[in-house]
Each structure stands twice: as C-alpha cells, then as structure tokens.
Amino acid sequence: MAATASTGMLTRRQVQGKRLRRGARRNLTAYLFLAPALILYLAFVIRPTVELFGLSAFDWNGVNPTREFVGFDNFARLFADPLFWRSLGNNLIFVVLLVAFNVTVGLITASALARAMRGRLIYQLIFFLPVVQASIVTALVWKWIYQPDGLLNNALGAIGLGFLSHGWLGDPNTALPALALAAAWSGFGLSVVIFLAGIQSIDQSLYDSAKMDGANARQMFMNVTVPELRPVITVVFLLEMIGAFQTFDIVWATTRGGPVNSTEVLASFMFKRGFTDAEFGYGASIAVIFMVIVLGAAIISLLLRERNED
C-alpha cells in the first residue's frame, strides 16, 4: 500500500530508514563518549604493541638512528639462549606458587572473614594495606626480613627453631620461593577483598538449605561457596597469574635475578638485555614471547573454565 506525503503515512522502508538513522545517532553519541578512552588505548597500548612486534625484527641499541633488519634472528637467538629457558622456568614456578597461595589462602581467609561478626573491616584493612604499599618498599622490607640476622631468622631462633635459620636470599634453592612469599604477601589482600565481595553476594538461602541438610562449615564451603564463586575465582586467578608473570620490582630490588640466575624472571631478563646491554631488538623479542605466553595462559584458563561450566 503506497503512502503519500499528503496523508503523513510512512512506507515500511521509510520507517526502517528512520530507525536506522536514530540508531546511528545513538551509536555516534556512544562512540564519541568512548573515543577519548579509545584514543588513549590506541596510543598507549595498541600502537606500542605493534611497534614492539616490529622492533623485534631489528638489531637496535635504542639510540642509533638506523636499525638493522634481522628478521627472526632475535627469536632464533632467544630460543637458543639457556637463560631465557631458565627465566621462563623461574617465572612459571613463581606463578604457580603465587597463584596457589593467593587463590587458596585468599579464599579461605575471605570465607572466615565473611563469618566474622566483629572486626571484619579492621581485618580487611590490615590485609589490604600491603596491596597499597609501593612494591619497592615491599621488596626492601622483605630483603631486611630475609637477611641472615633479619627478622625471620631471629623469630625462628626465638621459638626454638633456630636450626631452620637460613640465608634465604643467598641460597639458589630458597631465593625464588622466598621472593614468591614476599610477592604473595603484598597481593594477598586484594584476593581477600574480591573474594569477600563475592561471598557476600551469595544467596544466604543456599547456606540455610545446606545447614538444614546437616552440612558442616567445611561442606558448606566446598559445596556452596566454591561453586557459587567460580566466576570470581576465575577473575582472581587471572589477575594473580598475569601479575605474577609481570613480576619485576621485587626481583630487581632484592636479588637482581641472582644468586646464579635462580631468581631471574622474564621481566628482569628482558630489562637487562634491553636497557643494560642496549639490545632493544632482542629485548623486544623477549617481550613478544612474554606477551604470547601470558595471553595464551589467560585464554587457556578462560577456555577451561567455560568447558567446566558446560
């Protein structure tokens, strides 16, 4: 049925056109508001990432106006470098220790806090204080704690465990776990706070039902809290994993990757090659592989989680 302007009725096409134009105007407004953040993201994240990939194909000392194209030579050199594999291995150990501690102990602590009737806020503040502390301060404090005559050895001696006293950062076998503990201490509070928020959003009726069925605290934790918190656990796991991979400050301020490369991680390895040795192209290749590894780990975690939910 044709419509005419004189009657004021619109054809279907005209109505669709109007809807599209209205939608486009709404979208335009939305994109304009998104634009500042998008511009910053493109300028400070995407562009440097693209440049990084490009730089990894060059031999460049960081200041020379000319760069020599070497193709994949930097990557070939990297994969043949035993220190790269050592750093990667150290990083993986660090990630496992840090994530295991912060996720499990963080969850258990948050669960206990959720049941606390008094002082919850105080405990939250105490746990969260290390999170807001500068990482360099954390590193220096723990460097002092781990000294042969430091707080830890003195405390062990005071409780009759002096035989356990050790040069924690001087022993290649204990230096990495010691740093992992220090890093866990500084990030543990964030896990607790996130888990606590998640627990507080769980429907109380689920706990009531479980209680009526005779479940004890442990059973309620395993059968109600953990399943209900699965999405939160995934988020915390990812945050902790990515943070652990990016560890640099605590290593650089304490051991600089020593003793004997036992605490060398990818970030410190990359920093030394790039800045100390003035090998920016090689350092960029390390950064590219680093990014691929972290991204891959994050994607695998998400896929596994989705598969579990299915």
Partner: protein, 452 residues
C-alpha cells in the same frame, strides 16, 4: 504539547549530548597535539644528572651550587641518579632529543658507546686541547674515554681498590700487613681460627663487590702486559694467569674464607659488618670512603688498607680505573656552559683539592701536601704510589668490557660462591661471550688519548 516533552525534546537533548561529546573529543585531540608549555619561561637551565642521592651533600654538589651562584644568567638543575651509572631513564631521555645537558656515566659500557655511536655525545676534544685539559688528564685515562681520536668524556672519580682491614683486629691478633700471598693466607687462617668465621667480607648477594677481588687477582697474575693483551690484543680469558687466579679464588670460596654464607650478604650489610668489627677484611675501593666516613663513625680511623699480594710472588701493581665519565649532550642547549662547569669542577687546583678532600679522586695529579685527606684514602693512594713503578692495571674490568662480560663474571662468581660453578666453567663462559661480542664489534678499541 508541553514544552520539554515529546519527540522533539528528545531529539534536542540528544543533539546537545552529541555536541558535548564532540567538544570533549576535540579538546582531547588539541591537548594531545599541543607541545606543552611547561618550562618555557625563557630562563636558561643547565640540566645535570649524576650519581647522587636527593639532598646529598658532597663536594661535587657543593661546587656545582657555587658555580651556579657565580652564573646568574642561568640556573643549574641537578637530577640525582642514585648509585646507577647507567640509569635506564638516561637512554630514552637522550634518544628523544631531551635529556640532561651534562651527565656522569660509565666509561666503556655498551650503553655509553651506543650514545657515542648515535651522535648523542658532544665532542670534548676542542675543550681538551684549547683549555689544556690534556695537561691534567693522564694519557692512559684519556684513552679510555677516547674513540676515533675524539674525547667523549672527562674521567673522574679515579678509583683504586685494596684489601680494607680493621687495624685493631690485626693488632689484637698480632698480625701484620701481608706482602706475599702466603702471608695473606696465614692472616686469613688465623682470623678464621680465632673467632672470625668470615675473614673476608664478599657481599656475594650483589656480586659486583667480590668481582673486584677476583679482578685484582686476575690483574696481579697477568700484569699490565697480559691485561692489555686481553683487552686490546688477542689475549684470552683462559690464559694461565687468569686460570690460576680464578682457581685460587675458587679455593678461597671452598675453604670458607668468605664466610659460611657469602651469597646472603649485600654490599651495605657487608660494609656494616666491617665497620662493626664482625668482618675484619673486605676488598673494596675508594668509592666506599665518602659513605664510610659517616657510617663507620668512630671506627673510621681504625680502617686501613693494603695492596693485595700477587699469587705467583710477582710484583704488586698499582691499580686505577675511572669510576665515571662526565659527558655533554650533543643536543645540549647550554653546551658552552656545560664545558665551563666541567672546567670549573675538574681543572682548577682549588676545586680538585676539594673533590679529593670529599673522598673522590679526580683524574690527574693533585698536590697531596695541600690536602687533608681521610686517613684511609691517604693510605690507599700511598699504596698505589708505592707500586706505581711496577706498572698500572685496571682496578675493575667492568669499565673496559661489554655489559654481557660483566654479567657473566657476576653470575659465575656467585656460582663459585654457591659451589655450583667451577673456575674453568666461569672462564669458558666469559671467553665464549667475549668472542661473541668481538664478532659483533662490541669490544672497545682504544685509539689512545686525542692528539692536540
């Protein structure tokens, strides 16, 4: 239809919101594209970066402040770089065309050479010749800062190293300063057997301090000719002298002469134990003296120093290396002022004396009779003068080798202290790295001091 309701009003509101968004984006773009206006007040500023701590009061800082007062036409801004001689921030600052007008950095490192190769460093040869700096800087020190017959830096903080010891402990033990390696080992054993489980403080956690001891053992075993043959000729790190010295170092570690846990002690902790008399000896250099004056307190005057005897009974050599070089930015807006400041600091007798009294040794001769030196610095310089006729070797190798070599040395030394690396493995690793760097053209070749 009431005003403010209905479709027309909604359209109007949406248009206003869109307009606001457009203005916001445009503003962001203008801000991003602007050159900024901070600091463009027209005032001339001389930016100086050097290895100090914020608020540090030392001879150099005081002299720079004096020069600043005498030059009201510009103002000096000092950026404290901390203890790092090649801070990571320097590279992006210089490569972006900004950075300091004048900075103190390492001589001989890959980073410093990269700056020179990239044309970021001002050629100081005209100043060297025209201002008679060549009359002050010894040729062998100028040579370290020279490539392509151009002087790129003014060497400063000439460091010497030695075995620093606590005189009162030696006196208590009835020990005298050893002049042979056998005597030295006798001293070490007696200290260890009499209540000093760490006869030699090693600071293994930081690694670099104990590389100075190993470097001294290398230099003593090879002598000036052997060291020069390695650094500038076709010598190898696996030669007899290097091998014997490293094996002896390994023996010191295996025998526990660095204490039961050398890798757990950092530089500051080792020095603190030395000042407190827990550790009777530590191998270190003149660079420790300014801090020691404050940190050792009343024990400062109890600190003595002796030259490390050589392994093979050969002559003891003087040792010297420039702790830093002062560079001028090729893009410096105040290059003339920077050169004038360098002249003021390092080439006037009065100020050279003040720097020396502050515990740092400027390059070239200083009239010691006019100077009241810290006692241990006097002893250190006296030891160098005593053995200078035998020849001069580097105080530390890291100023003459690429960073990768020094990194391999530090890792290897920690491995020896941990018992996981042998002397042979350390030297093989260094030699292999050296060959790689040579092939890449990263071994610095000296063309000697510039010819005026």
């Amino acid at each position: 239809m009431k005003r403010g309701t209905g479709v027309n009003s909604q359209h109007s509101r949406r248009r206003r919101v869109t307009a606001v968004a457009v203005v916001a984006v445009a503003s962001l773009g203008l801000v991003a594209c602007s050159n900024g206006g901070a600091g463009e007040s027209g005032e001339k500023v001389l930016n100086v970066w050097y290895g100090s701590e914020p608020g540090q009061k030392d001879a150099l800082t005081s002299l720079i402040a004096q020069w600043d007062e005498e030059h009201p036409e510009l103002s000096v801004e000092i950026t404290a770089m901390g203890p790092e001689l090649n801070p990571p921030s320097l590279l992006p600052a210089l490569s972006s065309g900004e950075g300091p007008d004048l900075w103190a950095g390492n001589i001989g490192s890959a980073q410093s050479q990269a700056f020179i190769d990239a044309g970021l460093v001002h050629d100081l040869t005209p100043a060297y010749c025209d201002s008679n700096w060549d009359q002050t800087i010894p040729d062998e020190l100028a040579a370290i800062a020279t490539s392509d017959d151009k002087l790129w830096a003014v060497p400063n903080s000439i460091e010497s190293t030695g075995m620093f010891y606590r005189k009162s402990i030696f006196e208590k033990m009835g020990l005298s300063v050893p002049t042979t390696w056998e005597d030295f080992m006798t001293v070490v054993k007696k200290l260890k057997d009499n209540g000093y489980p760490t006869p030699i403080g090693a600071a293994g956690q930081d690694a670099w301090p104990v590389t100075h001891l190993l470097g001294a053992m290398w230099a003593g075993a090879e002598g000036p000719d052997g060291v020069n043959q390695l650094l500038f000729g076709d010598g190898t790190w696996t030669s007899t002298g290097f091998t014997e010295a490293t094996e002896e170092f390994e023996k010191l570690a295996d025998d526990g002469d660095f204490g039961p846990d050398p890798l757990s002690y950092a530089y500051e902790a080792t020095n603190a134990d030395f000042y407190n008399g827990v550790v009777p000896m530590t191998y270190t250099g003149g660079f420790v003296i300014p801090d020691a004056q404050e940190d050792a307190g009343e024990n400062f005057d109890d600190i003595g120093v002796f030259a490390l005897p050589t392994l093979n009974g050969g002559p003891i050599y003087a040792n010297e290396s420039p702790g830093e070089g002062w560079y001028v930015n090729a893009n410096a807006k105040q290059a003339d002022a920077a050169e004038d400041l360098l002249n003021y600091l390092f080439f006037t007798d009065e100020n050279r004396t003040k720097i020396l009294e502050g515990g740092l040794v400027p390059a070239g001769p200083v009239d010691l009779d006019q100077v009241e030196l810290p006692s241990v610095l006097e002893e250190l310089l006296a030891e160098q003068n005593k053995y200078r006729d035998n020849g001069v070797v580097p105080a530390f190798f890291e100023v003459s080798v690429p960073g990768s070599i020094f990194e391999a040395e530090m890792t290897g030394v920690q491995g020896i202290l941990a018992g996981s690396t042998s002397a042979d493995e350390l030297l093989q690793t260094i030699q292999s790295t050296w060959e790689t760097e040579k092939q890449a053209g990263n071994i610095i070749s000296s063309s000697g001091a510039p010819k005026c």
